[in-house]
Symmetry: D2
Subunit: 339 residues, 4 copies
Amino acid sequence: MIVVMKPGATPQQVQHVVDLIREFGLREHVICGTDRTVVACIGDKRMVDKGAIETAAMVDRIVPILAPYKMASTEVKTDRSRIEIGPGRFPIGGTKVGVIAGPCAVENRDQLLRTADAVKAAGAIGLRAGAFKPRTSPYSFQGLGMEGLKILAEARQATGLAVVTEVVSVEQIPAVVECADVLQVGARNMQNYPLLDAVGRTRTPVLLKRGLSATLEEFLLAAEYILNGGNTQVILCERGIRTYEDYVRNTLPLASVPELNDKTHLPVLVDPSHGTGHAHLVPAMSRAAIAAGADGLIIEAHLDPEHAMSDGGQSITPAVLGELMPVLKRIAQAIGRDM
Amino acid sequence: MIVVMKPGATPQQVQHVVDLIREFGLREHVICGTDRTVVACIGDKRMVDKGAIETAAMVDRIVPILAPYKMASTEVKTDRSRIEIGPGRFPIGGTKVGVIAGPCAVENRDQLLRTADAVKAAGAIGLRAGAFKPRTSPYSFQGLGMEGLKILAEARQATGLAVVTEVVSVEQIPAVVECADVLQVGARNMQNYPLLDAVGRTRTPVLLKRGLSATLEEFLLAAEYILNGGNTQVILCERGIRTYEDYVRNTLPLASVPELNDKTHLPVLVDPSHGTGHAHLVPAMSRAAIAAGADGLIIEAHLDPEHAMSDGGQSITPAVLGELMPVLKRIAQAIGRDM
Amino acid sequence: MIVVMKPGATPQQVQHVVDLIREFGLREHVICGTDRTVVACIGDKRMVDKGAIETAAMVDRIVPILAPYKMASTEVKTDRSRIEIGPGRFPIGGTKVGVIAGPCAVENRDQLLRTADAVKAAGAIGLRAGAFKPRTSPYSFQGLGMEGLKILAEARQATGLAVVTEVVSVEQIPAVVECADVLQVGARNMQNYPLLDAVGRTRTPVLLKRGLSATLEEFLLAAEYILNGGNTQVILCERGIRTYEDYVRNTLPLASVPELNDKTHLPVLVDPSHGTGHAHLVPAMSRAAIAAGADGLIIEAHLDPEHAMSDGGQSITPAVLGELMPVLKRIAQAIGRDM
Amino acid sequence: MIVVMKPGATPQQVQHVVDLIREFGLREHVICGTDRTVVACIGDKRMVDKGAIETAAMVDRIVPILAPYKMASTEVKTDRSRIEIGPGRFPIGGTKVGVIAGPCAVENRDQLLRTADAVKAAGAIGLRAGAFKPRTSPYSFQGLGMEGLKILAEARQATGLAVVTEVVSVEQIPAVVECADVLQVGARNMQNYPLLDAVGRTRTPVLLKRGLSATLEEFLLAAEYILNGGNTQVILCERGIRTYEDYVRNTLPLASVPELNDKTHLPVLVDPSHGTGHAHLVPAMSRAAIAAGADGLIIEAHLDPEHAMSDGGQSITPAVLGELMPVLKRIAQAIGRDM
């Protein structure tokens, strides 16, 4: 952390900042520049409220230097994490990229089992579907709940696909752990700390989605909550961010993939469905995500999008998925991976 | 809802859309324009997944017309809601504007009681302070928990101020309801639906903060969850949104105040502390918020910001608050209100 | 500027950075922290391409410390600039706030003269109207051009109001300087450097609008171009920025007003018309801007907004302006200013 | 265009809107829904100021339906435009993707000629470099001007590469047309209408960069200005947009590539250098852009980025480019194209 003083700060004012820094258990390094003085702070700043120093007289601003996450960082763990999911123990974060597909929500038993078969036939290694749906409107379909979980368990048994499903509250976790291979923490819950703590106490892989307007640092700090709880199996998922763009539901900023690959050892999936909001954009962004270096994709697929109970507009059919898969495989191979 | 067809859509493709619309229980109205055909849908669209229709052949896009919230809307309830808070039953949403102030967190008994006295002396009608703190980093101070609640109860008794404090999980609600006059749902939890449902089942006023990048429609739909649960005492709080601006923690978009006053009968407070992130910007934005028509303010105030355990950089002192209050009163009077 | 090295950088890699820094004519200060080394650079960095150092081996990132503008900064000129405009030499940046009002475009002689009379009667000190209109679509009304300038000159003569009008290209400047008291550089041209250079060579006051997504630093650097050309009469204008918000044309971030008052000696106006895009939001945001400390307002006013040739939706009538003015005056007085 | 009335609008108020619509030369279609009335407008709305109707009594808002661009649209011209550039007449927009590379600025003759040779050897089909540099700060290197143009002409002669260089003002165009194969209109000038008009009067291909926070509609309307001037050779370039993300200079929203391919017949290049701002992110985003369907790339390459006079931090070396090219070729082939 660097404390930047305003021009004209007196030696007493600089000393006051130095005193504060020492009080916080840090050491200081005062640098007198041509226009102003800056004070560099050395030591562990994670427990310090940096803002507090900002209110000292003639302090201009505080510039943080060190990212406050540790366990998620490549600085602490340099080898990449590989997280095996599902009955088939598919390794997310290895050489092979994997595709997880399925409907937004479990709508009924028949729909889910048929979709599971179809996405498996297309080459998916996992099945996604929500039993508990967090919906923006209280009047929208909220999911089948426990009934949905049972159907998911049946689909897993029938297909051997890894089941990925969302948890929206702490109490659901024990039931979901029974039926699912991966606990999804949705974008709206990325900073729901009691939920992060709770999934951190399980030993089930967690798919953590980036918040709607989260920075990468906030995203990694959310992962840090889970890692800090003892659960090392965290898969990150880029699903788009909110910007001024109006032709998409979210803007999919794929540069986060190589940047996260730099900053963290955790694997990174991309969700091109929420990342665009429109089925016609999903194939192109799926291809781009693999080319950018994503460890896999999570795609919304529905047998009959026109009649989907949620997210129909961004769901592709298993048929479209089937045509996309060989293209994705060739792209993976083009960058030295496989599928 | 308007379904916009692509140019060149055939009569059969338009008819297919009409069939879908009817299937959803709506009536259609087909309009053939010079360049393209649009289909207007009439009926209650709240339960319809609009996206689904988007996937029909030759549909360009769906334009929603009606806001999906009802109970929060001035279309349903035209008289303004007035929500009385605290032992003094101060009416938020009446002619008078009220200021709620206090530290980010309850740090200890002495700090809180002295701060409560100081903000009361300055003219505040409520005391804010967190016992449970949602923090971006797992290494930051997380609040005193139940111990903090007891101190808050004591401060209320001593001063008569309305106590506003945050709930971050469903299980805390019974304890918080005992000690607090207003349950705060924080920005990060604006779309934590189990939490919204749970505060909706209480009969304690709720202060709902706008999410970090929520639209006003999403904000009002979050309020709708609470109203839908039977709790009519919802106070909205604009606390700034995330934009590309880098000199502030958040961008405070005050036009939301008159716009919300148009769209909803619920009262609106402004939080200039999170709304800027810097103490030196708080007085100006407090003044602006009142001038824009806010029903009050919620301000972070700390006796010694340099030593605050959290949010020090955005906390003003009670002394600064004391100087600000008469200015705010004059502005309130300038627009026909009072303080 | 601070160069942050990655953890594990070798002494040779740090030395290489030090060599680069010296090559750029700067002095270095190496600080070895607990986790990583940072190198602080001392000297005038304005001509250095900071990015270049970022590509050196094991450099993590570059943190700029000093704002690259000089002449616009309160660090260089501490007394506030006051810029007198129009026949009446109204001082923008003094104790009194001033309101400039008028239609988006000069539509015809009668419209402009009648509007000028009406806004003067309401208490405005300046008249705004465009003769050259930069329009997003090539099919929209592009302004009356030279004919419009003549009408503006006539309105100035008739009313004594200061005339503010936009220049969109270098060649127009001589003609506009003849007819106008203030040259407006629009938001879309904030980084049109040949235009900034050219208005910097005049001695006519310039109203510089903030770009659609400009940072305050970029805004002040644009002002610096003008100041650097020798024209010290620059008035800044906050007109809203582009964000994800969809109920407004732009988000009006009023915290820029106190922040600019801190960072620069130049006066700051606010444009609540473009800043919101909707007439019903203009009065509230006009009040808020004055309360936040703006030196004045520039408001779109039209005698018959339903028939305006451009920006009708965000234009208030002179009658609404007339009702607003005494409220603004009371707010100005509430904060120790006047009108 | 759809005019949405507020609930409770009287028949007279609806009729007033109908009258306005007819006055604008449009026909109306009144639809009475369950909650409110909407009025659909039929006819050519491009010359209508839609906002004007918004100010009529009890109008809630205006919903535009038709994009206001015509000549850029696939609705008007369905076959894709193919634009041949340079001495080699490489077709941008055909099956093959092309890479244009080179330094941010022409720094001197030796640098440019050596870089041209190096990027040609790597497989580039074009050379980019600025002679006139629009720089955020007046204190930064502003380019070599006419001298730079001569060096570019020499490089073209020596290598046969297509030369792409920026024009920042109307007066430069004749000189640049002599030396360059493609006129670049930079992001900051995307809405500089006199410049768009002027390049529209040439018959030289134009590379139009997306503005810093332009919507796709505004981007296509800027292209429309050029097309409207008679120049049909417009190449669009996605170069990233401004968002809250702080690890990149710009967020690169690659979904714009398939969306533009849907909406317009014009070819689309991607600039991964400005699109990320960091050399280490350029290879991944180059791969992603090709996979998403871009017609080519424009990449900043510098022989010695540490000593670049501008944009050093986002420049890759020709060596890195040379390694990247075969990967890009394999990806192009994976999606049925070539390089």
